[in-house]
Amino acid sequence: MAEIEETQLPGVGVRHEFVTAGGERVAVLTHRSGRREVAVFDRRDPDACRTFLHLSADDTRSLAELLGAGQVSEAVAAVRHQIEGLAIDWITLPADGPLVGATIAEGQLRSRTGATIVALMGSGGTLPAPGPEQRLDGGDVVVAVGTPQGLQQLRVLLGA
């Protein structure tokens, strides 16, 4: 992945930029209000923007959907922001993990670690809020929320 450069814009928000493989410089401005703008820099004047796309919070989600990025991480990051001491972790299940093939309930993951699985990202797409009957497959990414210690225990239990 290209290196992403972050610049603070006092009173406005923050700007992230990177150079595409084709050599175009692209910036994403995130306003404090959640509104975003996508800018493509001008090749002749590298300090100015050629294209400027205004996106509302909703538009941003649509565009992200089209570009294929998962929205789970963002939503969970917002939750984590609100509650102090809460951590989130993305854990990839190894193919030979001890709990592969078991359901979430059978693993007794919550009672043993205090951590909750909030989403499963597997070959079939992202499954938010999986039920206790959901089976864990090798290669799935488990998104879990809990205390940092709980998440560490979960990592050990899952064999990751």
């Binding site: 814009l9 006092p10 009173g11 406005v12 700007r15 800018a39 300090d47 100015a48 923007c49 400027f52």
Partner: protein
């Protein structure tokens, strides 16, 4: 003003204020239609209904005066809300050199013109302040409207605005102390108290901000609005008691709020600020006698030329430091040309001075010219070379 003096008077006040506010509403709409800020138009209305204007208002002056004072507080409070304490710290770390260049290039023209006009030093210093500070509101609007927020010269421009606003937290109380017009010794004491008070409030705002924000966070919108409004007036009033200038107190309250409370307060106070600030701009030019304007046209235009040159220099300097090429340096300077709310706030401090009326007239003309010409210049400079 006694509210119950006579219902006839109240009726006249309502009618006068209502009619004027409706005119402001039309102008705000026109302004947004043609893509300029409404501040210069408000100033023109103030000239028309003020002393010596076309349709002077008699009864509502007191009422508008109090509303205008609150307008200043809310303007500065909202400005303080714009910045987070980490942005301020970063600004202070990296912004000293740009801030100094900007101050010299733009304060000196005002000071010199004030002295050349034969004004006393205090009034000339105030005029220096008037020509020094760009309008954060207009600059942010210009950058947004012209889609320049993503440009590489924009972060240094915004950082410069932070520095200017912080410099005002020091300059305003000093200017207010000077304007009390006592002897040298008493003035020095007042300035000393003012600076200590600002330092204390600034430290409390930066350190205690999280505590205050956490305290306010659970409030409903209604309770939060009342709390920040009350707090702004209270701290502003206390600052005024210490002769620190109420505006600075309000600014620091805004700085102290952070996190989600900051965003909510900003959304809640926004409409209130627009209303009260409009009355402030109105009231300022209300006190300017239009008959004074022709007499100050030459110095005001000279100041506008020098002030434009000064901002082009500041913009060139800050953009060059960020490694921006020539075109971007010019864009940075042109974006900064517009003066507005701060210049008017500074000039209003000197309203009671001997040369106060002329300071007000020069400032009104200067703000009118730069607030209109600045955005136009920025648009023109930004045109892509064919």
């Amino acid at each position: 003003m006694t509210l119950a003096a006579a219902s006839g008077e109240v009726a006249v006040v309502f009618i006068e204020v209502g009619a004027v506010v409706l005119v402001l509403a039309v102008l705000a709409r026109v302004a947004s239609g043609i893509g300029v800020t409404a501040v210069p138009l408000y100033l023109l209305v103030g000239l028309a209904v003020g002393d010596g204007g076309v349709v002077p208002l008699d009864l509502s002056a007191d009422f508008i005066g109090v509303v205008a004072e609150i307008g200043v507080l809310l303007l500065l409070f909202a400005l303080g809300l714009e910045y987070t304490s980490s942005e301020l710290r970063q600004g202070l770390r990296t912004g000293v050199a740009p801030g100094a260049v900007d101050a010299v290039a733009n304060f000196v023209p005002g000071l010199l013109i004030g002295l050349l006009l034969g004004w006393d030093v205090t009034t000339a210093v105030l005029l220096g302040g008037v020509s020094w500070v760009s309008s954060s509101g207009i600059v942010a609007k210009v950058l947004t409207d012209l889609d320049r927020l993503g440009n590489r010269e924009t972060p240094p421009v915004l950082n410069l605005l932070v520095i200017e606003d912080l410099a005002m937290a020091v300059f305003l109380p000093v200017a207010a102390a000077l304007a009390t017009g006592r002897g040298l010794g008493a003035t020095l004491v007042t300035v000393g108290i003012a600076l200590v008070a600002v330092a204390v409030i600034l430290v409390v705002a930066l350190r205690g901000g999280e505590w205050l924000s956490a305290l306010l966070a659970p409030a409903t919108d209604e309770a939060l609005l009342l709390a920040v409004f009350g707090l702004t007036l209270l701290v502003g009033g206390l600052a005024q008691q210490l002769e620190v200038s109420a505006a600075v107190g309000a600014f620091l309250v805004g700085l102290a709020l952070s996190g989600p409370v900051q965003h909510r307060a900003s959304a809640l106070v926004g409409p209130l600020r627009d209303l009260f600030a409009a009355m402030f701009f109105l009231f300022f030019s209300f006190q300017v006698d239009p008959a004074d304007l022709p007499g100050v046209a030459v110095p005001a235009l000279a100041l506008a030329m020098l002030g434009t040159g000064g901002k082009l220099l500041s913009g060139w300097f800050v953009a060059a430091r960020a490694g921006v090429a020539r075109a971007g340096r010019l864009r940075a300077g042109s974006a900064l040309v517009a003066r507005g709310e701060f210049s008017v706030v500074i000039a209003s401090l000197g309203a009671t001075l001997v040369d106060g009326p002329r300071l007000g007239a020069v400032t009104a003309a200067f703000v009118l010219v730069t607030a209109v010409a600045g955005p136009l210049l920025a648009r023109f400079v930004g045109r892509p070379a064919v």
